[in-house]
């Protein structure tokens, strides 16, 4: 399986599935020491989930602005090419960025009949479900990132008429290169508009799915350490 080829000497699936899984067992048996390790990380992660939720909300506002803008330009007979594609990208950004945030607020739907039966099931079934969910989410994230890189390598462009300024692409690319290559990068970049490469909006998918995977593992660890779920659902008042 080439998709799982070794990374730093170990198969990728060892990194992605075995290590977090093993750490879950560590959390179960050495709760106090695991809590000490994770506490500073939790403080950062909580902030990250919250921020990603706010970013998602920002994209939702942008969808609104874009669509209202599109309607007004249509009435004034100005053509605004690629608006539908742009709205689609923003929709994807909203959905993906909000995944982890939604999970932590208990808004993702699950069938909880068996979960609510007794205390034993509430803990162990929840842990089992989180483990399965974490594996699926990690798989999802791994291929989202791979697809993102493939789109960049194949230089996959939009099928619509939407364009983005080239400096934006260069700016984003900067973070994937070494600082000493940046001057060359900017020298090659022009200032005209180019058809949107798919990898640009797909970054939202990569970040969002990776965050979701982290959030599910994180919730599993928290469940095992604290002996109770840290997902607080806001019941409709």
């Amino acid at each position: 399986m080439r998709d799982w080829q070794p990374f730093l000497g170990l198969y990728l699936w060892v990194w992605l599935f075995l290590f977090p899984g093993a750490f879950a067992f560590y959390c179960l048996f050495y709760r106090n020491s695991a809590r000490r390790i994770l506490l500073p990380i939790w403080r950062i992660l909580d902030r990250v989930y919250q921020i990603s939720g706010v970013i998602a909300a920002g994209f939702l506002v942008m969808i609104l602005v874009l669509i209202v803008g599109q309607m007004t330009t249509r009435w004034s007979n100005v053509v605004f090419p690629g608006g539908t594609e742009l709205a689609g990208y923003m929709m994807a950004c909203t959905s993906f960025f909000a995944l982890a945030y939604t999970l932590n607020h208990g808004a993702h739907i699950r069938v909880s009949v068996f979960l609510n039966m007794n205390a034993f099931l509430r803990f162990w079934l929840d842990a089992f479900a989180m483990l399965i969910a974490a594996i699926i989410a990690t798989y999802f994230a791994r291929y989202a990132v791979k697809t993102n890189f493939m789109s960049e390598i194949l230089n996959d462009r939009t099928q619509g008429l939407d364009k983005v300024p080239e400096w934006l692409l260069t700016f984003v690319t900067m973070f994937g290169t070494w600082p000493w290559d940046w001057s060359e990068l900017w020298a090659q970049s022009g200032s005209e508009m180019v058809f949107t490469p798919i990898w640009l909006p797909q970054i939202a998918m990569s970040i969002g799915t990776v965050l979701l995977a982290i959030a599910v593992w994180d919730n599993l660890f928290r469940l095992l350490i604290n002996q109770k779920t840290s997902i607080k659902s806001e019941t409709v008042e």
Binding site: A57, L60, I67, T84, Y143, Q202
Partner: protein
């Protein structure tokens, strides 16, 4: 034989994952992955992401978060309370009295929000205390509310219909239009039930309301105007062809913001709460849709939907027979999962079947919504029952019992839809529209 084997594997893994309370969207992905790995030799992961990306970045889907947001704004500001206040005085004249506010309130609120939980919450919070203090019997208050709130799913804008439309690639505007008359007929059925109750059980009837001077009544009715105006603009712009479903939703959000600002109930807190609430709900639906997209792809590769369609064809079921079978199927499914999930989960299989049988897909969407509505008030998993339980502290069994007459009425509605399919198809066929 491979087909039966495949069905068994799909069903087993599905029930295993859903039953062990894995989140629905991720469970669907898991089932799809097992199917891909077992029955095809395609690279599962790459196909998965391609499908999911195409689905998640589609323009049609943008109507979803906007309609959710609009409902959230109305729900969290004072607009919806005003709506109720203006409605109540008019219901006094009907036999059955203020119980009708449950139905009428749900009908109108359904027209601004897309979900039945929001409708139920909004109307219930205002009507339950009012009705209790006036001595209406508890079982009628709870029962009618549980039934009428399901109208939120049917009367446009309806999230279930958006999801259905996205899943089968049909015009959402058409689906919305198709939902109007069946929704009104269903509301009419609920109201006539209250009238029947009024005449047949005299003992429980509370004192009639003291009459209100006409001038005051008109003054109270003024509260109806803002929200009614908004509903009119949103639905009208869609049906008259000025705007697509997404644009109408955007108009709705802007309108709701302007109205609540004019009323001074739009604070930074209500704004951010409504926005974050909408973000969460739409991400929840998006994850389920992602899982469902991958599952239909996986099922498509196994050839299962085609095989099922052929199987149904070989039984020579009449369309009526097929509808009867599907009704029972969705009722059972709806007992265990929520409406959205059961739509997305089954469409890959059911869509070829109904197209094969020559059933109109727009009509089928409405049929599906009625059946899913029914499932929302049947135990053990009925979303409306859960919400009502949270609101009233009654046992879920008691709430389910009070809702039994409503379940009967909704099943009657299914029959009506089958006998008069024009109820759903006439409006979308006769109004010009743009896509």
């Amino acid at each position: 034989m491979t087909e039966i084997y495949a069905i068994l594997v799909f069903l087993f893994v599905l029930f295993l994952l859903l039953g062990s309370s894995v989140w629905v969207g991720l469970a669907l992905m898991g089932v799809a992955w097992v199917g891909m790995e077992m029955f095809t030799n395609r690279p599962a992961g790459d196909a998965m992401i391609t499908t999911i990306w195409t689905g998640a970045s589609s323009w049609t889907l943008t109507a979803l978060p906007l309609f959710i947001w609009m409902g959230e704004i109305l729900f969290r500001t004072r607009l919806s309370q005003d709506l109720f206040r203006g409605l109540a005085p008019w219901m006094r004249f009907l036999p059955g009295g203020l119980l009708h506010t449950n139905i009428a309130g749900c009908t109108i609120f359904a027209a601004v929000s897309g979900s039945s939980a929001a409708t139920l919450n909004m109307v219930g919070k205002m009507s339950i205390p009012e009705l209790r203090s006036r001595g209406y019997p508890e079982h009628m208050i709870i029962g009618t509310l549980a039934g009428a709130a399901t109208l939120g799913l049917m009367i446009p804008p309806s999230l279930t219909l958006i999801v259905y439309g996205v899943t089968i690639n049909e015009s959402i505007t058409k689906l919305f239009m198709a939902g109007v008359f069946p929704g009104l007929v269903l509301a009419g059925l609920f109201m006539s039930y209250i009238i029947f109750w009024h005449f047949f059980t005299k003992g429980e009837r509370p004192e009639p309301e003291p009459s209100m001077p006409f001038g005051k009544m008109m003054a109270e009715s003024l509260f109806l105007l803002p929200v009614m105006g908004l509903v009119f603009v949103v639905i009208g712009s869609m049906y008259l062809g000025y705007a697509t479903a997404t644009e109408a939703a955007a108009v709705g959000v802007v309108g709701a913001l302007v109205l609540s600002a004019g009323q001074r109930s739009l604070t930074w807190e209500t704004f951010s709460k409504s926005l974050m609430g909408a973000t969460r709900t739409s991400a929840m639906i998006a994850l389920i849709l992602m899982g469902a997209a991958f599952l239909s792809l996986s099922m498509g590769f196994t050839g299962l939907p085609r095989a099922m369609a052929e199987l149904i064809e070989s039984y020579n079921l009449s369309p009526i027979g097929l509808i009867a079978v599907l009704t029972i199927f969705y009722l059972i499914l709806g007992m265990f999962m929520d409406g959205l999930s059961s739509v997305v989960l089954t469409m890959a299989i059911v869509e070829p079947m109904i197209r094969q049988a020559g059933i109109d897909v727009i009509w089928f969407g409405i049929f599906l919504v009625v059946v899913i509505e029914t499932a929302q008030v049947t135990p053990p998993i009925g979303f409306n029952l859960f919400v009502l339980q949270g609101m009233t502290n009654h046992e879920i069994g008691y709430i389910a019992k009070t809702a039994i007459p409503m379940v009967g009425l909704m099943l009657l509605m299914v029959v009506i839809l089958v006998v008069f399919p024009e109820l759903a198809t006439w409006l979308p066929d006769n109004i010009r529209q743009r896509n």
